[in-house]
Amino acid sequence: MSIGTITLIIVASLLLLVATGFPIAFCLLTVAVLGIAAWVGPASLTSLASVALVSTTTDYFIALPMFIFMAAVLQVSGVGSALYDTMYKWMAGLRGGLAMGTVVISTLMAAMTGVAATSTVTMGILAYPEMRKRGYGKDMAMGCITASGCLGPLIPPSIPMIIVAGLSGISIGKLFFAGVFPGFLVSSLFILYIGARCLRNPSLGPPISLDERANWREKFISLRGVLLPVLLIILVLGGIYGGIVTPSEAGGVGAFGTLVIAAIYRNLNLRNMKEALFMSLRVNAMIFWIILGGSAFSVMLNLTGVNDFIAEILVTGAASPWAVLILMLAIVYFMGMFMDATAIAIICIPIFAPIVAELGFDMLWFGFIFTMDLLIGFITPPFGVNLFYFKGLGHPGVTMTDVYRSVLPYVVIITIAWILCVVYPPIATWLPSKMIK
């Protein structure tokens, strides 16, 4: 059988399996097992044992459970509602203020969490009902929440960045800080968009009445809600940027710090603790079983030679290095509409990274635009996980079509920001280039 036919069968069977709704981790594992058994020989299935061992005990992935646990504790810690209270006092009087404030909080939370669910769920519970009560339009109230959830993994810390860095051999710390300026760029563009729309049409996001607004004294007292989160951000991100702790150590310290904050807000009880622990266990197992299945899949691609075949097609089929790069990014963008980010990273990075290195592109820059490409997939319909997190909250009268429609303008905005980072790399690479190590 020719290598072309094998490649076609592998791609087709993976797509078919994924479409049945079978968990992605098992889809990858199944195609790996079948591929090895059919084209390499059943004896090579022994590699499954080393895949299971290596993918669950690799030291650079130790940052994953750390930051997953930190995000879970953050979600139950009460930090979200403290921040919301501050934001409400400062911004509710502006046109579209609550929606802009939601983006501001998501940006702050993004600097403490590496997953998109934290702010999407927290703001979905706190901010959405309040905005609707205050007469905000459905699209206005929903879009800012699902879209700014993307900031979570864009601004450090970031779970997808740990995976991308781990798979491609880039420094996790540097990739983290590549996300800072693009993160602020996206966040500012979101705020500008909301502001501009509400300025032209105040009925989309009406300000609260004058007598309900907080006075300056109340506003300044409420600022203490920002104090602890900012200290935590300085501790965790400052520690990594200054080279004092490794990213995984920063995760451990951050999780510990978040526990302390939860205790200060009197939210550190057995019920919350269990919720955070069980949530972490599920998310961690979900991600790592995809890594396990994906590693098996990569091994299979290598053993069958499909890896080299695809690389060859990409390189010979495209006219210039830039065409190859754009083709790769377009594949990821498209896959993002249908597939989970971890799975895309683990399928694509082992194939793409060597090509990119050979073409002479900056690996850190590629790692970043690849990650941002993945993150756009978090909010692109039909399979944007963030959209499902929000839908899963079960607010009355919200259909999936509503969620899709509300997020579209933000998809356009973040795509523009991403193209800017592709065309003008210093937005991403300047900050990490100034790091101590």
Binding site: F22, A52, M66, G252, A255, A285, D340
Partner: protein, 176 residues
């Protein structure tokens, strides 16, 4: 299928559910030492100026969290899949698709169980140790945990199959 058999199968399902739920809820507490060890290591390194081999312990804790969390994750339907296509179908059609997928699940997870099982067995015989650190901790206990985790996942998948089957045969009987 007879009602009594139905009851027996139901009892088996509940037993496996309980085992995976208990395992998950117990293993989840490992996040506490996992985090504390790192915080303690940063402390000993910067304040007491002594390095410490926490990473050897932590890597095995991480692995345990992953492999033993697999069945718990399946029990709580947290293994993410793409349901864009199948969400258009009826519950019954979706269940039948899941039933057809079961042999594939058994085949792939079974292959994983077989190969990790053989590796664990060899590891016990050779009393194998990790080679990457100065402490050379034994590796066979962790390799055994992998086998246990894969087995729990396989059992939980089997329970889902039994429930799906009962649902298709007797849609009205509650198999929980």
């Amino acid at each position: 299928m007879q009602i009594t058999e139905h009851k027996k199968l139901g009892a088996f399902c509940r037993l496996i559910d309980a085992i995976n739920d208990w395992t998950g809820r117990t293993v989840a507490w490992l996040f506490a030492p996992f985090t504390l060890l790192v915080a303690a290591d940063v402390f000993t390194r910067y304040v007491l100026r002594k390095p410490w081999f926490y990473i050897d312990v932590n890597i095995q804790i991480m692995g345990t969290l992953i492999v033993l969390g697999g069945g718990y994750c399946l029990l709580h339907q947290s293994h993410i899949g793409v349901d864009t296509v199948v969400s258009r179908f009826s519950q019954r059609t979706r269940t039948i698709i899941d039933l057809i997928l079961f042999p594939i699940f058994v085949g792939s997870i079974g292959a994983l169980l077989w190969k990790t099982g053989v590796a664990a067995w060899d590891s016990w015989i050779w009393k194998e140790r990790y080679s990457f650190s100065a402490l050379l901790p034994p590796i066979y206990p962790y390799k055994t945990i992998i086998v246990l985790g894969v087995l729990l996942l396989l059992l939980q998948g089997t329970v889902k199959f039994i429930r799906d089957l009962l649902f298709v045969i007797h849609p009205k009987l509650e198999s929980k």
